[in-house]
């Protein structure tokens, strides 16, 4: 699998996600946001975490209009994989790759901690290494992770099974107390209708090595390696 990791001014998790991808067996090509084309043969485009453009205007707003995003939208429209993590999820929403928006956390605090998630479905390119309903332990670090969509969009996401992960407690219960940011329905990540685009606030790339706290994030990258779709 060939993965293009886009770097925007202010991205800071591109190195970690590249490491996670390489560990799973991907070849990684760093791509600067001002490029207009993706490398030939790109299977997966990764929008990494960070604070692109200092979160000016709205999180992900300026990066969402970068040159490379036209190529990324075309890649997604062809069924190519696009993974947006944290700021990358915000960028994907602002770029129109996914519906809705990430608003300021309901309690206004930047939250940086370990967080349990439920895997809502395991029959997708990103989650086949997990089991449906599995509780995984990952990290979150964001100030704007409060997922908001209008009523119709939310009903569509739920009705079509496009919620990828929800915030939960250690027992897998999706409760208001386990929701770190006020997201509607505890949503931590969503898929596009074709399941080729995934945006999520948590950082699976943080949890790929037992030395640094756990390996529950590996499954996502290993799942992707089983998929090969030409761009």
């Amino acid at each position: 699998m060939k993965a293009a990791v886009i770097t925007f001014p202010g991205s800071n998790r591109e190195g970690d996600v590249a490491k996670a991808l390489r560990q799973a067996g991907a070849s990684v090509i760093p791509v600067w946001h001002a490029e207009t084309k993706l490398p030939a043969g790109t299977d997966l485009v990764v929008l990494p975490g960070g604070f692109s453009y200092g979160d000016y205007l709205r999180t992900g707003a300026i990066a969402g209009r970068a040159n490379i995003m036209d190529a990324t939208r075309a890649h997604a429209a062809r069924g190519g994989y696009v993974l947006g993590i944290c700021n990358g999820f915000q960028i994907a929403c602002e770029a129109g790759l996914l519906p809705g928006i990430l608003m300021r956390n309901a309690d206004l605090k930047f939250v940086c901690k370990r967080q349990h998630l439920t895997v809502e479905r395991a029959d997708t390119p990103y989650a086949r290494a997990y089991a449906k309903g599995q509780v995984i332990d990952v990290c979150i670090a964001h100030g704007e992770g409060n997922y908001i969509a209008d009523t119709d969009t939310l009903a569509r996401l739920e009705g079509e099974g496009l919620v990828a992960f929800r915030y939960c407690d250690a027992n897998g219960q999706v409760t208001p107390a386990a929701n770190p940011n006020g997201s509607q329905n505890g949503i931590a990540g969503i898929y596009s209708p074709g399941f080729n685009v995934l945006g999520l606030m948590p950082h699976p790339e943080n949890l790929i090595d037992g030395l640094t706290g756990g390996t529950d994030g590996r499954g996502m990258f290993e799942s992707l390696m089983a998929c090969r779709k030409a761009a």
Binding site: R58, A61, R65, P99, G100, M103, R104, N146
Partner: protein
């Protein structure tokens, strides 16, 4: 020409920052504050003198970047 673009949250969209500001105003004892919604103001200097084309350009600017129309409304005002 000068223009002012005002971007505000749509009715019904949760505004935690506005709520916090509202709480702060109340704790300062400012009388008569019912609620606060916060937003953004952009003061934009424009070259050219055609008001209609400036208005069209700024509308495009709002739709493409300045506002996220999922959650925000915008208003464009052009000074004489």
């Amino acid at each position: 020409m000068k223009a002012r673009v005002t971007v505000t949250l749509k009715t019904g969209v949760l505004d935690p920052q506005g709520k916090a500001i509202e709480g702060a105003l109340k704790s300062l004892g400012i009388a008569g504050v019912d609620s606060v919604r916060q937003g953004k103001v952009f003061d934009i200097a424009l070259s050219g003198s055609d008001k209609a084309s400036a208005e069209a350009a700024l509308k495009t600017a709002c739709e493409k970047l300045l506002a996220n129309t999922v959650i925000e409304n915008y208003r464009v005002e052009i000074e004489g």
